[in-house]
């Protein structure tokens, strides 16, 4: 048992795991910073990828990217391993724990017994840290829980080898080398610029700000195309992806605003504080969308709550984010912030 593992509850599992692991290895990092350096903010609406028969809407980058990018940008060595055989996968976990290292693992959430039942969907991109074995149970630092939890070996095995989309295949990861000191400045700049690029300059209409606009058009067409019942299910799904556990609220926009605030200190650039405030109000506007949408879902629309009105809010978010990332990008490109390549 690694008794000193610095468990901190976080909003999002992947950035939480990254921050806690790095902190354990002597590189103190907040969750927001890990999220930002990992360029966690994103948007994509992928109607051809179905989760429970509903189109995939995501406000964050693909699972695993935050960890990889944080490791790369902070020059931290990190190994990932997947397993074909579950017994092997569990044996390797035990072996690594005996070596005294906390081990990160990707799991599904459906089979984790300590999760609130209402959150147990077949979602396979959850991340946690195993910090020790106690008898036939594992001590787990699950970043979305307040305290470390215990989980039986059989349950953990099932969760690690869950099947379906994004199957974890027992993926384990750990840090192999951590530099004594890291200059966070280039890491932060590069990370911000990557988000700006992903949000405004990918020439695919489903990704970034273009994707948000596309979603707006879809929202408008749902009632006539899908009928009342399915339109509400689609809407509910977007609200869940935006607000449910692991987002920090407002579709990850608040956690990103927190990162920008910290980045202002790191880069010694007070203008980033204004950007942080703007991001907060963009997040607030996304929440307006959720509030109005939920009223419609509940069958209690107020005033002019209808699908075109929802689409309007989404478009306003798209416009705000478009301007935001364009200006943020030009700030990062200007003068002293220019990233030397």
């Amino acid at each position: 048992m690694i008794s000193s593992f610095p468990h901190r509850q976080s909003a999002h599992c992947e950035s939480g795991v990254a921050a806690n692991l790095l902190t354990h290895h002597g590189l103190p990092l907040s969750e927001a910073m890990a999220f930002g350096i990992g360029s966690g903010l994103f948007f994509a609406y992928l109607p051809f990828v179905r989760i429970n028969h509903l189109p995939l809407t995501t406000f964050r980058s693909a699972p695993g990217w935050i960890l990889r990018r944080v490791a790369k940008r902070l020059c931290v060595g990190m190994t990932f391993r997947t397993f074909r055989d579950a017994e092997n996968g569990m044996a390797e976990l035990d072996r690594m724990l005996e070596g005294g290292v906390p081990v990160g693992a990707q799991t599904g959430v459906y089979w984790l017994p300590y999760f609130p039942p209402a959150l147990r969907f077949h979602f396979n991109a959850h991340n946690l840290v195993v910090c020790g074995k106690e008898g036939d149970s594992y001590r787990i630092s699950d970043p979305v829980f307040e305290e470390p939890v215990l989980c039986g070996a059989a349950d953990l095995k099932r969760a690690r080898f869950a099947r379906g989309p994004l199957a974890p295949n027992g993926k384990l990861f750990s840090l192999t080398s951590v530099p004594k000191t890291v200059d966070p400045v280039p890491a932060v700049r590069e990370a911000i610029r990557e988000v700006c690029r992903l949000m405004t300059r990918i020439p695919i209409p489903l990704i970034g700000v273009r994707g948000i606009r596309y979603l707006a058009g879809q929202v408008e067409s749902w009632p006539s195309r899908l009928g009342e019942r399915r339109a509400l299910l689609y809407l509910g799904n977007v609200i869940r992806m935006q607000e449910e556990v692991g987002t920090g609220g407002g579709g990850f926009r608040f956690i990103y605003a927190a990162f920008l605030q910290e980045a202002a200190t790191v880069l010694d650039e007070h203008r980033l504080l204004d950007f942080s405030q703007r991001m907060t109000s963009i997040g607030d506007h996304w929440r307006d969308f959720a509030v109005a949408g939920a009223r419609i879902c509940k069958g209690r629309p107020q005033g002019n709550d209808d699908f075109p009105a929802l689409a309007r809010i989404v478009r306003e978010c798209a416009d705000a984010e478009h301007g935001f990332f364009r200006e943020l990008d030009s700030l990062m490109r200007s003068g002293r912030h220019a990233v030397r390549r």
Binding site: R240, E244, G293
Partner: protein
């Protein structure tokens, strides 16, 4: 979002709290525990209602002999044939076939054990006509 606006609307999650990011009086970001937020709760509730409706519809079909009990266990665990096939190490078409009562009655005892282990039930319960049991999420 300001600290005082962090919602505390308890929904389906019981005692468990998530953390959300909010701004304190000085404009600094802090982490604040939140019991849940009504709009998110509504959306979550709706998702579970649709799963329950699905389970109910499947159960009715099992009762009149159109589908096998396997289909009921799948619906209860939010599994489609592809997902169950992944767990059981079968092809999707085999699982689809076992959703028919006639084919399901003839599966080998070994396969029945495998299915039972996946659903954490006994072979007998798996083969029998199911008694209604709500899906995981709505159980407190």
């Amino acid at each position: 979002m300001r600290r005082k606006d962090v919602p505390q609307d308890q929904g389906l999650f019981g005692e468990w709290k998530e953390v959300s990011y909010a701004v304190d009086d000085d404009g600094r970001y802090i982490l604040v525990p939140s019991a849940g937020w009504e709009p998110a709760n509504i959306a979550n509730h709706m998702a579970w209602e649709s799963i329950e409706a699905e389970v109910g519809a499947v159960l009715a079909k099992v009762r009149i002999g159109v589908l096998s009990p396997l289909a009921y266990h799948m619906a209860r665990h939010q599994m489609d044939p592809g997902l169950l096939a992944g767990y059981a190490g079968l092809f999707r078409w085999q699982v689809r076939r076992h959703m028919k009562p006639a084919a399901f009655r003839r599966i080998s005892p070994a396969l029945a054990d495998r299915y039972a282990a996946i659903f954490r039930t006994t072979k007998e319960e798996l083969m029998e006509m199911p008694v209604c049991d709500p899906p995981t999420g709505t159980r407190k």
